[in-house]
Structures are given as structure tokens and as C-alpha cells.
């Protein structure tokens, strides 16, 4: 795991929020995530990474924020995590993944189409084995969300 693999995602996330929701999310203190830790987020977008590093990048949202984002973007008031909310989160993660892709080409990293995981105490499919996982909390006027990165280098230096 290298900070250079992560910064494209951070920038893409900040840009996406800025463009779509009008404000740039502020990053807080990064911390460690244990693989078996159950996150208390309601809906997560998981982006697979392959190439000289292997793992996942996960964007996790609490239901409130997910609903709020959907409300802003669709103009319809959302009070529960319905299909629209899931689609919106999916789209958002898609945009972020697409933007991050360009920054990763030079490192020979490929990213996959994101998939959405939801439900109370959902588990993330971290790569097997002991992989370093770092979480970066973000705060927006509409609420908090989390960007987690679990990556291990394949080419041992």
C-alpha cells in the first residue's frame, strides 16, 4: 500500500462531491481498520483493485447521508434507503472510480466496476490474508462518510 495509490481516490471523491453537491468534503484523521471489524455504515460501494497492488477501495455512507445526497440530486425527498438511493450511491461511486482510474494508469493499477453492499452491519470483502487497511473519515455539511483502502503490494520490493 502506497499513498500514491490512495490520493487519486481522495481527489476523485472530493471533486465528485464538489461538483455534484457543491461542497468539498473535509478529511479528518486517518485510522486503522481491522479486517473483521464490522463497520457501522449502511451502504458501501466497493471498488476492486488489481495489478501491482491488490485489494479494494470502499466508500461507506450512513443512511442519512445517502438519503440526503439522493434528495439533493433527484429532487425527491428520501426517507429510506430505496432503489433510488442505492442507484445514486452506485452512480456516485462509479464517477469516483472513473476519475481515479486516470491517476492509477501509471502505476499499472486496474480498477473494476464498483459493487454496492448494504444492510446493517455489512461485511466488506477485504482481500484474504493480513492486508493493511486504512480508513479516512470525511465530513460534509450533510454528514460523515468514510473512504477505506485495503491494499497489499504484489511485487515485493
Amino acid at each position: 500500500m502506497n499513498i500514491r495509490y490512495i490520493t487519486p481516490f481522495i481527489e476523485a471523491t472530493q471533486n465528485a462531491f464538489l461538483e455534484l453537491l457543491g461542497s468539498k468534503p473535509e478529511a479528518l484523521t486517518p485510522f486503522l481498520v481491522r479486517r473483521e471489524e464490522v463497520l457501522d455504515w449502511d451502504i458501501s460501494g466497493v471498488i476492486g483493485i488489481a495489478g501491482e497492488a491488490r485489494g479494494v477501495v470502499v466508500l461507506s455512507f450512513p443512511r442519512g447521508l445517502a438519503q440526503e445526497i439522493t434528495t439533493i440530486l433527484t429532487g425527491q425527498m428520501k426517507t429510506s434507503v430505496d432503489d433510488d438511493v442505492i442507484d445514486t450511491v452506485g452512480e456516485l461511486v462509479n464517477i469516483i472510480a472513473g476519475n481515479a482510474k486516470r491517476g492509477l494508469e501509471e502505476f499499472k493499477l486496474m480498477i473494476s466496476l464498483p459493487s454496492i453492499v448494504q444492510g446493517d452491519s455489512h461485511q466488506i470483502g477485504w482481500p484474504s490474508g493480513s492486508v493493511p487497511i486504512v480508513g479516512i473519515p470525511f465530513t460534509t455539511p450533510q454528514g460523515h462518510f468514510n473512504l477505506s483502502v485495503g491494499l497489499e503490494n504484489i511485487i515485493t520490493v
Partner: protein, 657 residues
Amino acid sequence: MASRFQKVLTNILRSGIQTTLEAEDEIRLLFINSIILVGFLALMVFALRDFFAGDHVYSLVTASLAFIVACLFFFIRWTKLVQVGLWFLPFLMAAFYGYLAASGGAGTSGALWSFSYPLVAIFLLGYRRGGLFTIGYVVFLGIVLFVPQLTPAWNMELDFKIRTIGTYVVISIFVVEFEYIRLQAQREIERGRKELAKTTDALLAEKSQTDGILHNIREGIFLVDEHLRIVGRHSDSLTQILDLDDETSWDFSTYFDGKLPEKEVQSLRDYLMMFFQSQVRPELLQTINPLETIKITTPRGRLKTLAFTFAAIKLEGRRFILASVRDDTLTAELNQKLKEEEDKAARQMRHLFQIIHVRPELLVQFLEDATDEIADINRRLKANSLQAQDDLMEAFYQGVHAVKGNAALIGLTSFSERVHDLENLVKDWRGKSPDWREILTLTIELSKIQAELEEIQALIQRMSTFQKEMANNTEPQDLVVMTVERAVQRLTAETGVQATLDLKDFVTDNLPSGHRKLVKDILVQFIRNSFVHGLEPAEERQARQKPLTGKIKIICQDRGPFLSISYQDDGRGLDPGRLRQTAIKKSLKNWDTRPDHEILALIFENGFSTAAEVSVHAGRGVGLGLVKTRVEASGGKVSVRSASGQGIAFDIELPKG
């Protein structure tokens, strides 16, 4: 109506034979039936005419001939024995014509019928056999005409007879010639047809082979023209490998737009054009294939590893590229998995090598402690997001420092070096407030260390059964005692300083397990300081008239609600004067004016150190600061006594509860 008539006529002429015949036989069949029909009609007409002319004999002969011919027709029709007709008719006609010729007929014109004989004989039987019949008949005719008094025809004028024979011969020659030529032409046509059929069969076979190949081959094979478009046929798997809709003509180079960096797409176009334009050597072209193996995301979103090969070919004078693509995704994935397994195995070997000589109980303790330290740091990190903490970096630093020290102590040297690297990074931020980006680098490194600890833990899990048996053979030992003894051993080996350890009064039975780690760490810190700063080398001790071997004594006593721990060595001790100087040099306010017995406490301040070198074991000036922090965090007290030149003593009070 017309076609029904055609069908009936065809049926009659073919004697009802449905099957397709060879051309020759077909012709003969039609011919014979035609002759029979025409002949029959003609004969009937003549028979009737003769009958009404009063010539009953002629009439009867003609009619019976007609009858025979009719019978022949039905015979052939019934038996389908066309050959019979072919042979029978010449004989019959020879006889009949002969009769006509011989009898002279109407104004000796009966002989005229003979002229049609060569036609019939040769067309029915071919120029060889028919030729024989023709010759036979002319002989017969000659006999009929020239043998005196044989037949009434002998009475004809000589000229007429000669002309008759002559005309017959000429006609015969022409018919033979004609039949011969016709036969050759027929044969040519047959040969041509057969060859054509063979070629067509061969082509069909080849086509079905090609079809088979293109349907079944797993690789995508296709042709590219000079406009870099895919043309012509391609194998079925191409559309599936490249995830295309089946478009028959599209630009090969635009497939990669958006899937590869633009520079590479342009480079690909340049490369492909080389196949059409230049004089580049084929071997060189092969080695610079930019699509030799690439990873792309297909239009349907699948990540595939593809391998392309290209070769120049010429078809009908035009140049093309013959390309093939292989889907190597599975292979690549397997190789990847293999590499990961190899890497993992190599890492595990490294860990194994490290931990194999470490006592299992120590290792377990170390792992627990290290995990706790990291968890502590993590709690702080998470809390920092809610409210900024001034001492976040300090806590980070001290936690990492502790882990490093413990790792070094139990002998995990390379691991402790990795932690040392992180410690260096964190050290720069002590007392400062880095922003999240700067913290991120630290967090990443920390996560790697945590991951490595987890790996070691997993490894131990697997080894635990093995080591349990080993452990059963040894007496249960006190971990704190062991740690202390081991620390002394290691430091002796590293510094060369000799010291004895007196643990007579070190009673740990009542040491609560919650304090175990703390006591262990503190004592180890003291021991380190003794070996690195306190205890003098042999010569210096001798000069001071101390025993050559230093003495370290540790006492632990149960004082009811408290545990009292005392550590002392007989080394250099603390020099208040030097301490004061250091305070001044480091601008530590309020310290430079303290009286001697109070200034000793300076050593518990963070950042304080008089050692010139920073080494792995000591000299960071944090150890004692950490000790004080942790003791006080547990509700205890620590103080120091010292007589300069004689030794140092630390007294610790820890609440047992």
C-alpha cells in the same frame, strides 16, 4: 397444360425411365424412342396407303413391321433394356431397307430409304459398331444391286445403281465423321463436368473445413486491411473475446480508444501501419508488438488479459494483417495467484526465521502488548477526528517506541527495525499538529506493521501445537523474571558491560496480571539505561575501586494496597551539575534553578537526554518519560534517588487494585 404435355412426352421418350442416365445413354434412349415413334407412324401411313392402293402384300409387310416396332417400344418400356432396342433396330431396318431396295419399290425409289440407314445404325450403335453395320449393309446393297438376276433391283440403270452406292458411301462417311466428332465433344464436356464437380467438391470440403476451424477455434482470428478495419471472415470467438456486437466492419484501432492511454493507441496505429508500408524486418516487428499482452476492460466491463499476434500476408496482390487474439485472463489470474502464494510463502519464511528462536510465551506476550499499543494509538486517531488532541503525535510516538523496544528485546530484530523506521517518521511530528494528509502516511505505515503482526500471529497459531509440546517440558516460568533476565543478557552481549542481577527479593506472586506488562516495560527501561548510561566499563570501575562486575538489584514487595518496586544499580548515578548544564543548554525553564535533590527528577522529562548517540536501545530521551507517564496513568508514583558516582535507584509505587 403445356407442361403436362411435356411431362407425358418426356415419359414416352424416356421409356418411363426416371433415373438420370449418362449423357450417351440418354441421347441414345431418346433417339431410339424417337425413331420408333416416327418409324411407327411412317410405317402405318405407308401401310394404309399401300392397302388403299391395292398393294396388299406391301401393306401387310409394312403393317407387320409397324407392329414389330410397336412391340419393341413396349418391350423396351417394360424391361428397360434399352440395349436390346439399340441392337435390334439396325438389324430390323437393314432387313426392311434391304427388302425395299431389292424390291425396287415405286420407281426403284425403294433404295432411297437405304440412305437413312447409316444415320440410324451409327447414331444408335456408335461409329464403330454402327460403322460395321453400315459396311455390312452396303455390301448387302451391293449384292442386291449388282448380282445378276438376284433381285428386281438388278434391273435398274447402272448409273442409278452406282449413284445409289456412291451416295450411300458419302453419307456414311459424313455420318461416321460427325458421330466421331460429336463423341469427342461429348467426352470433352463430360470430362469438363467431372473436373468441375471434383473442384467444386474440393472447394466445398475446404470451405467446410475452414468453417469448422472458424467456428470452433478458441482464438479470435481476423484480417485487418490498410485502413485498419477488420474485413472478411473472422472466427466466431472473436466477438466473444472482445465483447463486441457482431459488426462486420469496424476500425481495429478505435477499439482501444479509452481503454489505453492515448499515446499507446497512437503508437499501436503506427505499429500496424508498418505492416503495410515499410521495410521493417519481420523479426523486429514481432519483438515490438505493443499488444503482446495487455490488460483492458472490455465494452461489457470485464477486465481481461489479451494476447495479440500480427503477421503480414498477401491475398490477391493486396496486403493484409493476419491477426489473432487469445484470452489469457485465466492464465494471468492463475499466475497472479501463484505469485501471491509465492510472496506469501516468502514472507512467512522470513517471519518464521525471525520468530523461531524466540520463546513462545514471550512472543505471545509481545503480540498482545503490541496489539494493545496499536489499538491505543488507533483510539487516539479516531478520537482526534471528533476533537483535536494536542498530544496525539506524542502518544503515537510513545506507542510505537514501546513496540519497537519490545520487539528488539525479544529478538525480532528486523521487525523492530521496520518499527524504528516508522518511529523516525513520527518523531518529526512530536509536539506538532500535522494535517490529515501527513497523518495518512503515518497511518499507512502503521497499518502495514499491524498487518505484519497479524501475519506473525497467524503463523504462531499454526505453530502453537508444535510449541505446546516443547513448552510442556520446561518448568513454568515467571514472565517478568524471564524478561528481566533476558534483557540483561542481551544488553551484556551488546554493550560488553558485565553485571549481575539480584532478584532475591523480587517477589511477583502478587503482581496483578494487568500490571505485568507495565512492570516488565519499566524494568527493561531501567536496565537499558543502566547498561548504556549507568554502568561503567571495567577500567573505569576499577579506577573507582568498584567490583569489576556491576550490580543490579530489583526488589518487589507487597505493601497491602500497594506494590512497592525498587530498582537500583551501582553505576555512575546522576550528576546534578551535569543535569543542570543540560537544562540550561536545552533552555528548560524552571529546572536550572532547582536544588540538587529536585533536579534529579529532570530525567523524567520528555525530550531530555544527555546521550550523544541515538541508538536503537536508548538515547531517545523518551524512555523514562514514558515510564513516568505510564506509572502515573495507572495511579502510581515513581521517584529517583542517586549518589553521583555510586549508583541510581528508582522507587515505584503501584496500586494493586
